[in-house]
């Protein structure tokens, strides 16, 4: 059903993912984070969503300059227009998937 190696990888990966996720919630119960930390983290949602979005746009390899994935860039155009215009995440995702399928058909 499951090989020993895969099981070890899954359990190990689960632990190293889970611990950073829950530690701040456990610490937060015991101590109050300094105001300065909260002040800076206020900008985390905007910063990290921006970074995560851009990360998916680039082919990156340490040591070389990042290059844009052109199919992603092209598919992003109708996606962003939909997002700004309709402000509906579900429609944005549908338009994105269809756009990308079309782009891959042509490119």
């Amino acid at each position: 059903m499951i090989s020993r190696n895969v099981l070890l990888i899954l359990v190990g990966s689960a632990l190293v993912t889970w611990i950073p996720r829950i530690t701040p919630f456990i610490l937060g119960k015991m101590v109050k984070f300094p105001a300065i930390v909260t002040r800076f983290l206020q900008y985390l949602p905007l910063s990290i969503l921006c970074a995560l979005l851009l990360e998916t746009v680039f082919n990156a390899k340490a040591g070389t300059l990042a290059t844009p994935k052109w199919d992603v860039v092209v598919a992003l155009v109708p996606t962003v227009i939909t997002a700004v215009w309709l402000k509906d995440l579900m429609k944005t995702v549908v338009v994105g998937i269809v756009a990308m399928a079309l782009v891959r058909l042509v490119m």
């Binding site: 899954l10 190990g12 996720r21 937060g28």
Partner: protein
């Protein structure tokens, strides 16, 4: 605390489920393509479903498949997953103060199911200055979690018949979802403090682009997000 007044639409578990719905399609698209990729990386249906249930981190799971195919060592894979998912530490640090009054167990459960997407929905709610309950957050988290596992399983079922989900544009669900979530957040931040939000975004864009050529992309995301916070936090108000 339960006694605190919560806004309509942010009170019950059902409200949380409803708040999660816009992201459900994204989870389905990504989870489904992960299932296909997993099967094509010589994992079986049980292994990929278990992975989605206990690792529960989209991008890290795709990375794991690639590393498994490349015969990377167990420690190599676990270390990589750690780095790819380390960004959750920052998200948890940002979200956790809002749950201080809740029990330790509730805190652990909210933290365990925190994802990029649930954090984004949560953050937009905070930016809109809505008051929400623990039940709402649980509804949001649990809906996302179940959707992810079901989508993985379904993708795994058809994985033997489809080798590249990319052909259908499914992998783009991730980018499209991040684009939608980012733009929603950006719009709220812009309305509150235009100059500062633009400064933060420009900082992230430039630093991420430079960092991508220097360090692994997961580390680049973390450092550029921190630099964005630094600029936002240091800039004068008004």
């Amino acid at each position: 605390m339960e006694e605190v007044e919560t806004d309509t639409g942010y009170t019950t578990f059902r409200d949380g489920v409803r708040s999660c719905l816009p992201t459900v399609l994204g989870y389905l698209g990504i989870g489904f393509s992960f299932g296909i990729v997993g099967i094509n990386s010589h994992l079986n249906l049980f292994e990929i479903t278990l992975m989605s249930a206990i690792v529960y981190g989209g991008s890290s799971q795709f990375v794991m498949c690639g590393l498994l195919l490349a015969n990377t060592s167990i420690t190599g894979i676990v270390m990589t997953v750690f780095l790819v998912n380390l960004r959750h530490l920052l998200m948890s640090m940002t979200a956790s103060p809002h749950f201080r009054e809740e029990s330790l167990l509730s805190n652990v459960s909210v933290g365990s199911l925190l994802t990029d997407e649930s954090f984004a929905v949560f953050s937009t709610t905070v930016a809109q200055e809505k008051h929400f309950s623990l039940r709402w957050m649980e509804g949001l988290n649990v809906t996302a979690y179940i959707t992810w596992i079901v989508a993985t399983f379904l993708g795994g079922l058809v994985g033997n018949f489809i080798s590249n989900p990319e052909q259908f544009g499914l992998d783009f669900a991730l980018t499209a979802m991040f684009a939608g979530l980012f733009l929603t957040q950006f719009e709220w931040e812009l309305s509150k403090n235009t100059k500062k939000s633009i400064a933060v975004v420009i900082t992230v864009v430039i630093s991420l682009y430079i960092l991508l050529s220097l360090v692994s992309s997961s580390v680049a995301v973390i450092i550029s997000a921190l630099l964005g916070c630094l600029v936002g936090g240091l800039a004068y108000d008004k």
